[in-house]
């Protein structure tokens, strides 16, 4: 049933592509398609973390601010001449630490995820601004830019990064005990606890994964812009939630998959790209994308209701 649902989202993506192919000749060119996937990659990676969190019946509003904070940590570190490996490690550790902090407050503090991550959203953003005095950080070594501009054959580096992240995350979610507990906690937390699973520890790690994904996205964003900006990543949480939900993951937790999230992120990317090609104003674009989110979830709800009865 879960497969059938994903299939439906995939059909939606194909139909969308077909419509754009008819409407504009520029859409179905190799360079444009690669461009779409490349532009989708950052949201798609943030959405991986969001999928973990939503599968466990939580929510993470702090991802966008963590992208900014991890980005400025990376940028400042690179600018002051640290080796790239150290700078990357610091950035990823910052993201993971923010996430683990979220998770610890949620599981040990017993606070609602919405409130905790709303707080972190503001704290991390403020920290990023304070750290940089509100100014962008730039002036990196050319070797760092390879992360955005490099290509293997015709495939851009960000797409390769996204593919690796999805493969690894999919493996974790489907083949490891951790992944199993993500679904179990979201499906029935008390039953999972009574089965002897440390729900607190695993919940903390789930938010840690989300923070780590935001940091990976921050690395890619910083490389693409060739600068780290404390105001980066605004509204990323909404795009990530939208991709996850369009991809069929239930906000109630316990049901969904990363394949769906990837398709959901691509639908949003294709839609933006297509509307740009068609010359639709960015104001109107927002309305269209909002409508697509609501319609996608509405269709999902209706289909599921039919399935139940």
């Amino acid at each position: 049933m879960i497969r059938a649902r994903q299939f439906g989202t995939l059909i939606g993506l194909v139909l969308l592509c077909a419509a754009l192919w008819i409407l504009t000749p520029h859409f179905l060119t190799a360079s444009n398609l690669i461009n779409v996937v490349e532009q989708t990659s950052i949201n798609a990676i943030v959405a991986v973390g969001m999928t973990f969190v939503i599968l466990s019946a939580g929510i993470d509003l702090s991802v966008g601010s963590i992208v900014a904070l991890a980005g400025v940590v990376l940028g400042t570190s690179l600018q002051s001449g640290h080796p790239m490996v150290l700078a990357l490690t610091l950035a990823l550790a910052t993201g993971a630490a923010c996430g683990i902090g979220n998770g610890a407050l949620i599981s040990w503090g017993g606070l609602p995820p919405f409130i905790v991550t709303l707080g972190t959203m503001s704290i991390a953003r403020g920290a990023a601004l304070l750290f940089t005095e509100g100014r962008p950080v730039s002036g990196f070594d050319a070797s760092f830019r390879v992360l955005a501009t490099g290509r293997v054959g015709f495939v851009p580096a960000p797409v390769i990064g996204m593919a690796i992240v999805y493969a690894a995350a999919h493996f974790v979610l489907t083949r490891t005990t951790f992944g199993r507990y993500v679904y179990a906690i979201g499906g029935n937390e008390e039953a999972t606890r009574l089965s002897g699973v440390s729900v607190r520890f695993h919940k903390t790690m789930i938010y840690g994964v989300s923070g780590l994904m935001s940091a990976i996205a921050a690395v890619m964003l910083t490389a693409r812009l060739n600068s780290a900006q404390p105001i980066a990543g605004i509204n990323y949480e909404l795009d990530a939630i939208a991709a996850t939900v369009i991809g069929g993951t239930s906000l109630m937790g316990g049901d969904g998959s990363l394949g769906g999230t990837l398709v959901g992120a691509l639908i949003m990317g294709v839609l933006r790209n297509g509307l740009n090609l068609l010359g639709v104003s960015s104001f109107l674009q927002q309305i269209v994308i909002g409508g697509v989110i609501v319609v996608a979830v509405l269709l999902d709800t209706v289909l599921k209701r039919k399935h139940r009865t």
Binding site: T176, T177, G186, N188, A191, S195, G196, G254, D255
Partner: protein, 515 residues
């Protein structure tokens, strides 16, 4: 002429007949005690009277006239008011707002007329002889006072909405509890202190003096004789008898409630008692359990009986590490133990089949095999990577063994209740458990699956496991237990050997009568 006549009432739920040809007659001014074990059908009958359920067959007559009660609204309009076991009040709103919720007096089509509301509430409370401040938030009241608010709400006039302007004078007359004819109370004293009970009974007397007929469901036999005028006993969804109170005695009541034909067959196999697995000494949880002591041996089924709220489930959860205890000691295999969480208990071989399997027993979206493997993740994984083959290998034989009618890859939510229960059992059988706590193992399970669960218990005891079985079904408890503990209000009221345990003795102890 009787105030109310219910004739031949029948109600079926999928797989069970909850009420079968039940009669109930109320005379004017009656305080009618409705008695029976858990699951006898008392609450179902009252839900039909109150319009919360619709009956499948039978007639209801009010003052001789055939009526059709198809909704709570219809019941209210006929003067029938039901106070259910769980109180339904909004804690942040005031006494007055709660009483007239949904019928707040308005003026100019939407502005609450506070003066009328408070006048009306004062009049109603005065009329009932209850001293309560209409403006007090319900959340700050004690349980007995909340009960009073609930009663006042039930008795508040059905259409109190007076036209704006005439507020003052209309308020006083509309405030009288005039149009309630029948008031049903479902175990109203279960959480009251004895002083509060006295207050409640005084109110009941005032109500009957004014011609309100009362139906009162309780498990406390002392109350039956204190305020009851007539009794009706129900058993297994059937009407057993209706009598005036002065024609029954306590032992007779107990016999009427318990007696049944033991037609069900229990395939009990007795096993030699082995070493002591669990020992509990003076265990207490503040406000819930006190001074609980018993032991469980290998090869034994220890039955625990008691009414709802006696503390059985709480005891089970403490032993399984799900909740903490405040006093006493818990010994497993002779070692003093304190579990921090269920994982600790599982590591010592303890498995809990929770009472509420939907809320606590399984993950609906996961497949059969994955639910079974859930407690065993660490054992099935290498460096955190699960082996699907190991999971399936673990699940397959148990699924076959328990005759679960499903494949290993079906999500659990698609299975029937009985099959879900078998999977929850299978979860624990797959491990190296030796101590099993089964809380209502056959609730909502069909007869065939019940027997399979009993057989499984036999196999477990044969291989040296000890089982604690909590059950509200007395025949099952007596049929499968080697010993029976009876709990009453958080304490152990009696311990009976299999030979001595009869339905009457267990029920008497559960009601707090004998020891």
């Amino acid at each position: 002429m009787p105030v109310l006549e219910m004739r031949g009432i029948r109600k079926e739920f999928p797989g069970v007949v909850a009420l079968d040809n039940v009669d109930l007659t109320l005379e004017a001014g009656d305080v009618h005690m409705l008695l029976g074990e858990n699951g006898a059908g008392k609450s179902t009958l009252m839900k039909i009277l109150g319009g919360a359920y619709t009956k499948d067959a039978g007639d209801i007559r009010l003052n001789g006239q055939l009526v059709d009660i198809d909704s709570p609204r219809a019941a209210r309009d006929h003067g029938i008011r039901v106070i259910y076991q769980e109180l339904n009040l909004v804690p942040h709103l005031s006494v007055a707002e709660n009483i007239f919720l949904g019928e707040l007096p308005m003026r100019w089509g939407g502005i609450v007329d506070w003066r009328t509301l408070h006048d009306r509430t004062s009049a109603l409370l005065q009329d009932l002889g209850v001293t309560l401040e209409p403006r007090a938030p319900v959340g700050r009241l004690g349980l007995a006072q909340r009960q009073m608010v609930e009663i006042a709400k039930a008795l508040a006039p059905a259409s109190a909405r007076a036209p704006a302007g005439k507020a003052g004078s209309a308020g006083a007359s509309a405030g009288q509890a005039g149009d309630a004819a029948i008031l049903v109370m479902d175990e109203p004293t279960s959480s009251l202190t004895s002083r509060e009970v006295t207050q409640l009974f005084a109110l009941i007397e005032r109500l009957t003096a004014r011609g309100v007929t009362i139906v009162y469901i309780t498990h406390r036999l002392d109350e039956v004789f204190r305020i009851g005028r007539r009794i009706t006993v129900m058993r297994d969804g059937r009407h057993v008898t209706t009598k005036p109170i002065d024609q029954v005695t306590v032992p007779e009541l107990v016999r009427l409630m318990a007696n049944r034909d033991l037609s069900e067959h229990f395939p009990k196999v007795r096993v030699e008692r082995g070493a002591e697995l669990v020992r509990v000494e003076g265990l207490g949880v503040r406000g819930v359990l006190s001074n609980i002591s018993f032991s469980l041996h290998a090869g034994e089924v220890l039955g625990i009986s008691g009414l709802l709220g006696a503390g059985r489930t709480e005891l089970a959860r403490v032993i399984a590490g799900a909740d903490r205890f405040d006093e006493g000691r818990l010994l497993v295999d002779g070692q003093v133990t304190r579990f921090r969480n269920p994982a600790d208990a599982i590591a010592r071989g303890i498995g809990l089949l929770p009472e509420d399997r939907k809320a606590q027993g399984f993950v609906p979206g996961l497949t059969v095999a994955r639910n079974i493997a859930l407690p065993h993740g660490r054992r099935l994984a290498t460096l955190g990577v699960l082996s699907r083959r190991c999971e399936d290998d673990m699940a397959a034989p148990i699924i076959g063994d328990l005759r679960v009618k499903a494949t290993a890859t079906q999500p659990l939510r698609l299975l029937s209740g009985g099959n879900q229960q078998k999977v929850v059992l299978a979860k624990w059988l797959a491990g190296a458990g030796r101590i099993f706590i089964f809380d209502e193992p056959t609730r909502g399970v069909d007869v065939g699956s019940k027997v399979e669960i009993y057989n499984l218990m036999n196999r477990l005891t044969a291989r040296g496991a000890g089982i604690i079985m909590i059950s509200s079904e007395l025949p099952e408890l007596l049929g499968m237990s080697d010993r029976v503990l009876v709990m009453h209000r958080g304490r152990i009221q009696a311990e009976l050997a299999r030979e001595d345990a009869t339905e009457e003795r267990v029920l008497s102890a559960a009601l707090g009568l004998a020891s």
